[in-house]
């Protein structure tokens, strides 16, 4: 009876997975294609997108995809001329099962599946053997439609030993199933259906966020069928500098994992069982060498974190069996002196343990938020170390090479899950105070009677502001260092004669980075018999570079925002300059701006005319990394104020 029920369910899945075609066959698929509708700005329209997932007791899933897509533009025809599927052969199997082209002229072409190519995917930095399957559909034209059937079994990550049959495709948390299904799109979809058949004894938690979906549950023998349907999906409209679309767009999350604690314990166990953190003699000797003379826990943690950050380069070689969530053994990473984030995290755990600390690995999601449903929403791995007071300190050896931090504040307001023996809940990293990431320019200058400006300024940066500047050095050839900074200055002040450009060794990050510039700029100020007109140099966006001062490139034209937005890090900007002036009678126009203070940002400062000198003092505080829409007014005003002082001129009457 049980066998029969299984067969029935399987048959049901097959039946349902072919259902749209059958219906279309009856009603006339051509009619559906012709009636797909007008979407003037779209390149394609997906008439239906159907996914059917059959989950086995082991957690292994069989996934059938069935899609009908109509080509609407030449661009759409080019985009769809090949069909590709990515997969990791250690954990997944994929198959292109059918591809049919419905030509605009009424003809139908079945694409020869013998032409499917299976090959190693292009790769950089991570070489884990990822593969692709590709089928060329060839020349398509607007009005044509393609119907494809694809199949995948397995999991996204490889963790288990290679074994016969389907065993290798069983997910790492054996018996558990999870999925994240986007219900948002950049091209219109008329109907999207996701169905999952789960063994009746598995409890599914699911959440549909940022929108609505039609859902149903049916009990079919020893399986439960969950169906999620949404019609008329329109392209998701993004706002500039918004958070990841996945944070705010409609998405379905499903998981059978009971809670984060279970996930945490599993992550702890999988690495301990593998022996990821075993301390070998060469590692022990290296740790002793690194810690020679270190007399505090802080100093030991600092040295070990930075040794791993700087000496273990980011490059992923496959460990074969177990690649995925399993951290490479410390001995492998130490021998190769390379690894990806998880391997660097594992190396640090190993070294901290060798130094007598209690340390574990953790998982996080860089770039987007983790929703509170225990699905695998992770793309990055880090380290935690237990301090004497019982708290865990986060360390990220992947994000702090040549950074004066142990945990990158570019990862503030980010969720993480520690892999602890007792389990842990999902946590969020705190906001890092802007003062820890100051960007300070102090300058003195003199305007001469002929309009020439002479002077100097010193830039001092700390925290993530320091990291941004330091990367401009340590991520390019030494031979290009001076040229890079010359370009920054000359793009803003083409006439600048740089008399000195000084900086400390950027590879030595024991102190905040300082850059000193001494300069002379002919014809900088406009000086006539009646006026002196100029913008102080330090106010003029000295380093106007998208990476160094990303906030200046945020589109401030938007009056309000619908979604959360982000910068790279909280930041305090202090701009100070004292300018010695030629003789003048009175102020003609001195730019003045109101102070700004709000939940997102603050701005204060301006000019003070003091006899033969004018002083600029500006202070802009960008309070966080991830902002809410109601933070936008103050953030926008603060940034606009800085930009305004950069372009307005001081006018003095003579």
């Amino acid at each position: 009876m049980r066998q029969f029920t299984k067969f029935s369910v399987l048959f049901g899945i097959c039946l349902i997975s072919t259902l749209p075609l059958r219906i279309f066959a009856q009603n006339g698929i051509w009619q559906k294609i012709e009636n797909a509708g007008d979407y003037p700005d779209a390149h394609i329209v997906t008439i239906f997108d159907s996914t059917n997932v059959d989950v086995r007791d082991s957690g292994l899933s069989y996934v059938h995809f069935h899609r009908l897509i109509k080509i609407l533009s030449e661009q759409g025809a080019v985009d769809k001329r090949v069909l590709t599927m990515n997969y990791d052969p250690l954990s997944a199997y994929v198959e292109i099962q059918k591809a049919t082209i419905y030509r605009k002229d009424g003809s139908i072409e079945e694409v020869d599946l013998g032409a499917v190519r299976d090959y190693p995917a292009p790769a950089r930095a991570i070489y884990w053997g990822a593969r692709q399957k590709m089928l060329e559909l060839g020349r398509l034209q607007p009005g044509d439609a393609i119907e494809v059937r694809l199949f995948r079994k397995g999991f996204t990550y490889a963790l288990l030993q290679q074994q016969a049959d389907d065993e290798r495709y069983v997910p790492p948390m054996r018996g558990h199933f999870y999925d994240i299904v986007p219900f948002w799109t950049d091209q219109p979809i008329k109907e999207k259906v996701y169905r999952v058949w789960l063994p009746e004894d598995k409890e599914l938690q699911y959440q549909f966020q940022n929108g609505e979906v039609m859902s149903s549950i049916e009990f079919m023998g020893d399986k439960t069928l969950y169906t999620f349907t949404k019609k008329d999906l329109r392209p998701f409209t993004k706002e500039p500098n918004m958070v990841a679309a996945t944070d705010v767009a409609p998405e379905l999350l499903l998981s059978t994992s009971p809670d984060w604690f279970a996930k945490s314990r599993w992550f702890y166990g999988v690495n301990e069982d593998y022996g990821s953190f075993e301390v070998t003699e060469p590692i022990r000797r290296k740790v002793e060498e690194i810690l020679q003379g270190a007399d505090s826990d802080d100093e030991k943690i600092y040295r070990l974190t930075h040794w791993v950050a700087d000496e273990i380069r980011y490059s992923g070689l496959s460990m074969g069996e177990g690649e995925g969530y399993t951290l490479h053994k410390g001995s492998m990473t130490f021998r190769d002196r390379c690894g990806v984030c998880k391997d660097k995290a594992g190396m640090l755990v190993t070294m901290l343990r060798a130094a007598g600390f209690e340390s574990y690995a953790a998982m996080t999601m860089a770039g987007s938020k983790i929703n509170d449903i225990p699905a695998d929403q992770f793309n990055h791995s880090v380290t935690v170390v237990k301090r004497d007071d019982g708290t865990y300190q986060l360390l990220d050896p992947t994000w702090v090479p040549f950074v004066r931090e142990l945990w990158s504040s570019a990862e503030q307001q980010q969720q993480y899950l520690m892999g602890l023996p007792e389990g842990a809940d999902l946590k969020t990293t705190p906001i890092s105070p802007p003062e820890k990431h100051y960007y300070r320019i102090n300058g003195t200058s003199k305007i001469h009677e002929n309009g020439t400006l002479t002077g100097q300024f010193e830039l001092e940066v700390e925290g993530q502001s320091d990291a941004r500047f330091r990367r401009m050095f340590v991520r390019q050839f030494k031979a290009n260092w001076d040229a890079f900074f010359q370009k920054q200055l000359l793009s803003q002040f083409p006439q600048m004669q740089i008399n000195a450009l000084q900086y400390d060794d950027p590879y030595d990050y024991s102190e905040p980075l300082k850059i000193t510039v001494k300069y002379r700029i002919p014809d900088y100020a406009v000086i006539t018999d009646s006026h002196i007109i100029f913008t102080p140099l330090v106010a003029s966006n000295v380093f106007y570079h998208r990476y160094l001062n990303d906030h200046l490139f945020i589109n401030t034209d938007l009056k309000e925002r619908e979604y959360n937005f982000r910068t790279r890090c909280s930041k305090l900007i202090e701009l100070n300059e004292t300018i010695e002036l030629p003789d003048y009678e009175e102020a003609g126009y001195i730019p003045q701006l109101s102070s700004v203070s709000g939940s997102g940002a603050a701005f204060e400062g301006g000019y003070q005319l003091d006899g033969q000198k004018i002083k600029l003092n500006q202070r802009i505080t960008l309070k966080k990394r991830i902002y809410e829409p109601n933070d936008w007014p103050s953030f926008r005003k603060a940034v606009v104020s800085q930009k305004q002082l950069a372009k307005e001129k001081v006018v003095l009457k003579r």
Partner: protein, 623 residues
């Protein structure tokens, strides 16, 4: 005896002097070597201790490229970001890669052989989305155990079947982005076999010997400085040590089979049906075909040499809707041929410096289409993007292979006549008491910076040529392939940046003047020459602005004029009665700016871009 003693004394003294001299010479040589070494590596992130590049032709026509090197890592950048992997691209059907050694000697002398998982074959990114080139692979050789002062030891051979290339040939720049202490280049062919070669931009002498029945030609180059790419520099092939060689007996031996392949490829059994509606002239048809090729055939950017100088037929490319630049050029030529329009692919070299007596296809890299419409001069078109203007201006004087019906010819790209390039604009504006502006303009555009084809096909409107104001009533006085004269009316405001009773406004600039020449932000010093797309370029503006009584320009009258070896800049801003007169002109004579002349270009560039001379300042007075 005395004589003898004296002689002995003298001999002793001579020997002492000799030893002293030897010590001095030795010390000097040692210091010199140390200084040279120090100078060579002081700004380096790594240094090649030695490199061997050996090409060996076998009797059966197959050949082997053998590379062996030792690279010493000096900085974190070197091992974290630059030299951690070596990438070798090869054709799995016609080449075989053999890695003899991949080992790192760590700073303490420990030798670490790379593990088996350090060798990963992937698909080269440029071969994505193309089954036709799916047999290409990129071997990623990861160097493990890297740290500062470690030495990478790599030794590999690439075995080429006899039919991969029509001859053993290459055109390679010998410098790297790290200095090289010792470089050996070796060419080996069976004795009696043709070998043409030329070493350019280097004085190194070849050693030509016969060893075991093979002719061995070898060069030793020492202490080569690192070469770092700078923006807008000429191709490294123009000035860096470079080796060109070929075992082809003569050009025809290469070009004949290439021509046969091309003739086959051009044959289109069922040429695509083009919609010629709207094509009133041949140029309309040509540009319509270019649009189809650019927009309907995906770019597969496999370099010609990596494809073994082979390509698919026009029919196959059309069917797959994707092609390499040469394949797309063939499709475009074939469609135009079928329409009765003369069109031919051309393969253009990025360098004018050729070794004419060395038959080598590797030098010709980019594929375009040369076409002669009736009533127009010959134009050169891209297959990857819609052109604003013929590319002949950009590539004038460059060597190319012209794939003709009867043969493949070596030609030079020619531009239409010897014209000047640039923009000249005359503007007359009137400002009223509300700071509002009305007026008219006359604009001349010519040569490279003139978007003739874009205007011809209405891809851009005349309004986009001058963005600072509202443009209306546009009238085109003259519209030919070489130049255009356009006039129209202007409206706008002076209140671009109001500051109390003051305002600042930027002097208008043609969008197709200097802005389109692509001069990058210049640095104070430069190691390499700078190359611009054209010579004889000028951007000129002449503007008269009539001001009401209530508005006064408050700039200091200026007249700056600089003329030097590269060109000239003149900037004049002066009041004349109630008017303000603005004249700005920038001209360049030559597109090749040597390192010696670079300060002259910098001088012009600085003056031209000075904000003080691009900004107009006004004060509103109570009248």
């Amino acid at each position: 005896m005395i004589y003898k003693n004296t002689r002995l004394f003298k001999e002793n003294m001579t020997m002492k002097w000799f030893y002293c001299l030897m010590i001095l010479v030795g010390t000097f040589a040692s210091n010199y070597a140390t200084t040279t070494e120090k100078k060579m590596t002081e700004n380096a992130d790594a240094v090649y201790l030695n490199i061997l590049k050996e090409y060996r032709l076998n009797e059966d026509g197959s050949w082997t490229y053998h590379q062996k090197h030792q690279l010493k890592i000096l900085t974190y950048y070197a091992f974290q970001r630059r030299y951690g992997e070596t990438f070798v691209i090869f054709d799995t059907l016609k080449q075989a890669l053999k890695i003899n050694k991949n080992m790192t000697t760590m700073a303490d002398g420990k030798k670490v052989k790379s593990p088996d998982n350090a060798f990963n074959k992937v698909l080269p990114r440029f071969a994505q989305r193309s089954p036709a080139y799916n047999h290409l692979r990129e071997m990623v050789i990861t160097h493990t155990a890297l740290e500062q002062q470690a030495v990478i030891n790599l030794d590999y051979e690439l075995l080429n079947s006899a039919d991969f290339l029509p001859a053993m040939m290459d055109d390679i720049v010998l410098t790297e982005d790290a200095p090289i202490r010792q470089l050996t280049v070796r060419l080996i062919v069976p004795d009696g076999h043709t070998l043409n070669y030329q070493l350019l931009n280097s004085n190194a002498q070849a050693k030509d010997t016969i060893v075991d029945g093979n002719r061995v030609v070898e060069w030793q180059l020492s202490n080569l400085s690192a070469h770092h790419q700078e923006s807008a520099q000429p191709p490294a092939k123009d000035f860096q040590p470079r080796m060109i060689f070929s075992t082809a007996a003569h050009w025809n031996a290469l070009l004949k089979p290439f021509h046969e392949q091309w003739v086959q490829a051009m044959h289109f059994e069922q040429p695509p049906q083009m919609d010629w509606n709207g094509s009133q002239t041949e140029l309309d048809s040509i540009l319509a075909v270019q649009k189809v090729v650019v927009q309907q055939l995906e770019d597969i950017n496999v370099p010609l040499a990596k494809a073994g100088f082979s390509f698919r037929s026009a029919a196959n490319v059309w069917k797959s809707a994707a092609g390499t630049p040469l394949e797309k050029a063939i499709v475009m030529s074939a469609i135009l041929h079928n329409a009765g329009i003369k069109a031919h692919p051309v393969l253009v070299s990025s360098t004018k410096m050729l070794a004419a007596e060395v038959p080598d296809l590797s030098t010709y890299e980019s594929a375009q289409v040369q076409v002669k419409p009736r009533s127009h001069q010959t134009i050169l078109l891209s297959v990857n993007a819609l052109n604003n203007q013929t590319m002949a201006y950009r590539w004038a004087g460059y060597p190319a292979l012209h794939l003709g019906n009867d043969q493949i010819e070596r030609i030079q790209i020619e531009a239409n006549g010897n014209i000047d390039h640039g923009s000249e604009m005359n503007i007359h504006l009137m400002v009223d008491k509300n700071w509002d502006i009305t007026g008219h303009f006359l604009l001349h555009l010519q040569g490279l910076s003139y978007p003739y084809l874009a205007l011809y096909t209405d891809r851009i409107s005349p309004n986009q040529i001058l963005k600072d104001f509202n443009i209306e009533n546009v009238d085109i006085d003259h519209f030919s392939e070489e130049k255009m004269v356009m006039k129209g009316t202007i409206s706008g405001t002076l209140m671009h940046e109001p500051m109390g009773k003051y305002t600042q406004s930027f002097i208008p600039e043609s969008e197709y003047g200097l802005k389109k020449l692509g001069i990058p932000t210049l640095t104070v010093n430069r190691n390499n020459a700078l190359k611009l797309p054209v010579s004889n370029f000028a951007d000129r503006l002449s503007m008269k602005m009539e001001l009401p009584q209530s508005v006064k320009a408050i700039m200091k009258p200026v007249h700056k004029r600089t003329k030097n070896a590269v060109g000239s800049v003149e900037i004049e801003i002066r009041p004349r009665g109630k008017s303000l007169i603005v004249n700005r002109s920038f001209s360049l004579q030559n597109n090749d700016v040597s390192v010696k002349d670079y300060p002259s270009l910098l001088e012009l560039w600085r003056l031209w871009h000075s904000e003080t001379f691009k900004t107009l300042l006004f004060e509103k007075r109570d009248r």
